[in-house]
Amino acid sequence: MMDAGRHPNINLLTYSEVEAVSGYMGNFQVRVRRRPRYVFEDKCTGCGDCAAVCPVQLPSEFDEGLGTRKAIYRSFPQAVPPVYVIDKQGVAPCRNACPAGQRAQGYIALIRRGRFADAYRAIKEDNPFPAVCGRVCNHVCENACSRGKIDEPVSIMRLKRFVADWAFDHPEEVAEAFRPKIEAEERKPAPTGKKVAIVGSGPAGLTAAQELRLKGHDVTVFEALPVAGGMMRVGIPQYRLPYDLLQREIDEIIDLGIELKLNTRVDDVVTLKDDGYDAVFVGIGAHAGIPLRIPGIDLPQVLSAVEFLRDTSLGRYPHLMGKKVIVLGGGDVAMDAACTALRIGTMQADERGGARPEVRIAYRRTETEMPAQADEIRQAKEDGVIFDWLVSPVEVLADEDGNVCGLGCIRMELGEPDESGRRRPLPIEGSEFLLDADVVIPAIGARPNLECIPESIARTPRGLIAVDENTMMTSVEGVFAAGDAVTGMAFVVDAIGAGYKAARAMDAYLLGEPMPGPEPQLPVAELTEEDIARKRVAGQIVDNPRTCSLEVSPDERIHSMREVCGTMTEEEAIAEAMRCLQCGVCSECNQCVHACGPVAIDHQMQEEVLELEVGNIIIATGYAVFDARRISQYGYGRYPNVFTSLEVERMLSGAGPTGGHIVLRDGETEPESIAIIHCVGSRDENFNPYCSKICCMYSLKLAHLVHGKTGARVYEFYIDMRTSGKTYEEFYKRLQREEVIFVNGRPSEILPEEGKLVVYAEDRALGRQMRVPVDMVILSVGLEPRHDAQEVARLFGISCDADGWFKEKHPKLDPVATMTDGVFIAGCAQGPRDIPDSVAQGAAAAARVLSLICRGEVEVEATTAVVDEMMCVGCGQCIQTCPYSAIEFLEDRKVTHVVEVLCKGCGTCTATCPSEAIALRHFTDRQLIAEMLGAMNVMLEMA
């Protein structure tokens, strides 16, 4: 195998399938699809450092399920090529749904193994703000989670939060996880000397800042407010996202060596380029509340929600004790504003001994149409916020002093759906009414404040900054933008994803490299119901319920801005992580990448399609093993200690799953008595009638080895002993002397009785029934054609015989050729045979091919068939009758055409053609009829 793998003239295409074959002998075109290995074959040294750190463990196919392997694996130590492969079914649906491409399956696989520090590293590779997103994200990943098809999705967001919170309490472990283990990661990029200005310190800006800094550029962040963080800091209240946690994540980014200028408003982003910055990033977010266009909007106690939240976040609390507050809107901002107002008023009441505020949310549709997250709505209700559905504001009323005293409203009803798909609210005539109010907080959306954006930067019709969708560059060269300023109000994770995208393009721009195009679409590993059922049968689904999160009780929590939700414990996190169905198999946690010294792993590898021109084809695709479960009387799959011969072969191997020990399924007990049953699935009218040829010999070998290792009493149940050829009979004789008990009779069934497996058989030599209790039964399973043999045959233009093996040209005189010139078969693909015979056939096929190659020319028949295209109606019957697949159908002209090099001149097509459109040269109808008439004339004259 090594010789073949390393030979300079042999191109070994592993993980590949032939998809299409066309042409003919000497001129075949073969299309091959190569699955991505995700490992560079020429770089991997087979050291195995990757497998040591991979968190995903699976049953090993090579060890017949007796052992395990990792998602990155090598089938067996002597594999050719001796390189690793990653079993990746695709991108997990959670990653595919995430706007930032977070590899959630990756960090969940690490949490499952208790490797929290590694999980933190995995998260940080895709997201600089895990503590933030772990609390406030809209978690589209959970909506896409395959677990949701069984019970409830994996609690991906809160698992991220768990890891982030754990990481801050375990800095040493985290430092160790981040420490580079391979030389490639020790090298930091050299400073590029390029300067970048980032305007806005929200998630988009800080993500872009981090990425550009890590690439070696000088980064300065301009922030107009006295605090960094954008909406994360001034839009999300502390009881959802504590400021110290956010600040720690911001500090980690700034500590990379980024200059942060707080309280520094930029007047014109484009002029920054004149100030010596080579590129500018605009991440100014959407901080201008959309005004409510009703009378009274300018009254002093009407506060836009965005402003209200910003002011309160900076410590400027309005007087809310005992006030009636009405919040207008149905989104998360409305919930945040309402609950913040409630808390501030309550804290003020506690401090000064006053009344608590009454906070209402008025929304023009019903709860079902509310865009806010369900948990936010629930918590607001629990806090005591009053909800008024189907209410729309008409006017804000003031008293004599010009202070807000009420809100004029009108009741609404739901009509037909509008563009958003939700039913349009329509005012009910004459239903106006008054709500008492002291403070009105409209929360109907926010827009970017474009004061610092000059006219040279193009806007979209909605008033947002226009950018190229791949590079995030604006209409001004070197000025990029991302986040809410580009998309309108969105979520933190959207801004983070956009920040990464912009940074990638900006890095290319700064280095004068080509700008990136659209990202390649990688296949997604969607689990079907059958996939899930299969996983359940394999015992891979853990039935833990979704972990509930602890919340501070409403009575307690409204008296402060303390965080409402608690975090999971380590046990809860591991239990939750075990619910993951591991859709992609490889979780893309990147642990292997961090361990691979030769830098041989590339998770972005795509499949390759190759078009090969070859002259000859040899098919040596081997056999499939008979599935012993089909013979229910033998109990394989039901009784644990019934094994197949292949399982025992693996146990016998010193490099196998049991280290060379023959043991029962418990992994410990050595059997004291063993029965080996021949002809399982072979010589059997119910399954395969033929003899699989190799089983007698390998059964004798197993008896000899197993007896040698365990000293057990070995019984062999056989019908006939087929040990033909050199030295095989002698081996059989030797075993007869060696205490193997041979019973001439095929067992009818195996039953578990009193802790043993009892084999029921007739001993034909003695003419009596036997009942043999043993500890272990080994089934000598036979060989079958591979289950896709018919498709493969069709692909190559050859046929299968009655049992499904590929058909040879002549069973005695030409066993390696097929009816199709240039296509040869060798080995078990043609029928069951052992290794010496397979090797001989391989050499024979090679010799046949060599003789064709050396000749360089092929002799063809002179008496070939030819199609008269004018007469041909394209029925294609000739194609079906040709034994040599020598006729092809021409799609463009819809007629058939004889491939002369393949035609052998039998004339079957000529006789078949209903349109008389095919003629056989030298045996045409005219010629035959002339002969016939001539013969008739002679006979008639004679009469």
Binding site: T863, G907, T908, T910, A911, F923, I929, A935
Partner: protein, 150 residues
């Protein structure tokens, strides 16, 4: 024409690889068989179409035989399978048209079966002698054929 002295005229289509070689062997072995058969060599029995057989009857042959390789031994692998499928249908068609189906014989004769070939010709000739000459059948059929066209 007296039935006793009428000599059937037989045309035989023999496949090159088996039955023609079998006929050669009969000759080399000096086996005796009647001279009523004239042989036309084809590459494979599958080359013989039903039209060819019908034209041969129309040309006045009293009997037509198609000899080929045994099933499984066809030099072209499946050619004689085609023959085996076509010829029973042709037999039924002959009966339908009023031609005695016994006038048409399909048999497998291998290259080593010279004696089988000779016996086949002998048997077939005798069987045809017991049927009226084909010319008479053709003359009987002609008026009906003309009447339909009119």
């Amino acid at each position: 024409m007296s039935e006793a002295t009428y000599e059937p005229k037989i045309i035989g289509f023999l496949c090159n690889w088996c039955s023609y070689a079998g006929a050669d062997l009969a000759g080399v072995s000096r086996l005796k068989y009647p001279p009523n058969l004239k042989i036309i060599r084809v590459p494979c029995s599958g080359r013989v179409s039903p039209e060819l057989v019908l034209r041969t009857f129309r040309a006045g042959a009293d009997g037509v035989m198609v000899l080929g390789c045994h099933i499984g031994d066809c030099h072209y692998s499946t050619g004689n399978h085609r023959t085996a499928r076509r010829m029973p249908v042709l037999k039924a068609l002959l009966a339908f048209t009023g031609i005695e189906p016994e006038r048409f014989l399909v048999r497998w004769v291998s290259a080593s079966e010279g004696d089988l070939f000779a016996e086949t010709v002998r048997e077939f000739t005798e069987a045809l002698r017991r049927l009226p000459p084909m010319q008479e059948a053709l003359e009987r059929a002609e008026p009906r054929h003309v009447a339909e066209r009119a």
